[in-house]
């Protein structure tokens, strides 16, 4: 099956039906391994046991940006290639991305209180991620505000691509401004600054959360395709009712005219 075959929603549904159980199983297994390794990870010499919060905070923070990246590619698919599943992918990803961003903010805040002495600080990294979260909510509101999915798709695609400007700002905010948030320690020039005892559980959890996203995204896309089928069948039903009532009233008026003649 090639990528172009997936442009057919029925083929896409068949693929998800086959793939989803395997993806879900792989996600559960990797999450279990990641959680086990996180539990066994030693305390950090500065952070103590709160380093364990990093094993869920960092994957969620990565995914908050990754999901917007996926939505941006899907938006290009909507605007440039008019791929039939592109806007389905973008719409289905938004609530999942919002949930990951919310978790990144919440777990970061819960780590910040004992380590920084505050739940929140208006520094560049935290503020730009909060803006990302608000943009996810705005995008979800936009999808709900416009009834016609194809019209909503174009507006949402433009907003998503404009919002993508925030991604490099989030990534480089810790380098460009003097922030309370620490600079990159995993993906940076010269290799990771983390010890293997922290790096391995972190990477396992990151892969597990990414698989979780892929699983949830495919399932949400399947739901969106079914929702659009419901909509088109309801429109078909409405047009049938309108047609039958119109032809009924026409027949009635015609018989009245015959009677009058």
């Amino acid at each position: 099956m090639t990528l172009i075959d997936l442009a057919n929603p029925t083929r896409f549904l068949a693929l998800t039906a086959r793939v989803l159980p395997w993806l879900a199983a792989a996600t559960v297994i990797l999450l279990a391994i990641g959680l086990y390794q996180s539990a066994l990870a030693p305390d950090d010499y500065q952070q103590g046991a709160t380093v364990k919060i990093m094993f869920i905070h960092v994957p969620n923070a990565w995914l908050s940006m990754f999901v917007w990246g996926v939505m941006s590619i899907a938006s290009l698919g909507t605007l440039v290639w008019r791929h039939p599943l592109a806007d389905v992918a973008a719409k289905a990803a938004a609530p999942i991305g919002a949930a990951f961003t919310f978790l990144a903010l919440l777990t970061g805040s819960l780590w910040g209180r004992p380590m920084w002495g505050t739940y929140w600080e208006w520094d560049a990294r935290l503020t730009s991620v909060l803006i990302l979260f608000l943009m996810y909510l705005g995008l979800m509101a936009l999808w709900r505000a416009v009834d016609d999915p194809s019209r909503a798709a174009r507006a949402a695609a433009v907003l998503t691509l404009v919002g993508a400007i925030n991604l490099p700002i989030i990534k480089f905010s810790v380098d460009w401004w003097n922030t309370l948030h620490q600079p990159a320690s995993v993906m940076r020039m010269g290799g990771s600054a983390l010890d293997k005892s922290f790096l391995i559980p972190l990477l396992v959890m990151a892969i597990a959360f990414t698989l979780l996203f892929v699983t949830l995204h495919l399932a949400a896309m399947r739901n969106e395709i079914l929702r659009r089928r419901v909509r088109s069948l309801q429109m078909m039903q409405a047009s049938r009712i309108a047609f039958s009532s119109e032809s009924g009233s026409r027949g009635e008026s015609a018989s009245n005219e015959v009677g009058a003649a």
Binding site: G48, I53, N223, Q237
Partner: protein, 59 residues
């Protein structure tokens, strides 16, 4: 495994992550059931796709 003096922050973080992921999974599962149910109801009323195939058909 000792979580030290900040155990409440650690446990709350993991519990919140579990709760949010559970809500996401629950929402997706319930949405799937709701959409397939609505499609079945429409098909029972004789409203079918132009192709004649069932709208809930996955293969």
């Amino acid at each position: 495994m000792s979580l030290g003096p900040y155990a409440a922050f650690i446990v709350t973080s993991y519990a919140a992550a579990a709760a949010v992921v559970a809500v996401l999974i629950g929402w997706i599962v319930l949405d799937y059931r709701s959409q397939t149910q609505r499609l079945r109801e429409l098909e029972e009323r004789g409203i079918t796709r132009r192709s004649g195939r069932s709208a809930t058909e996955l293969r």
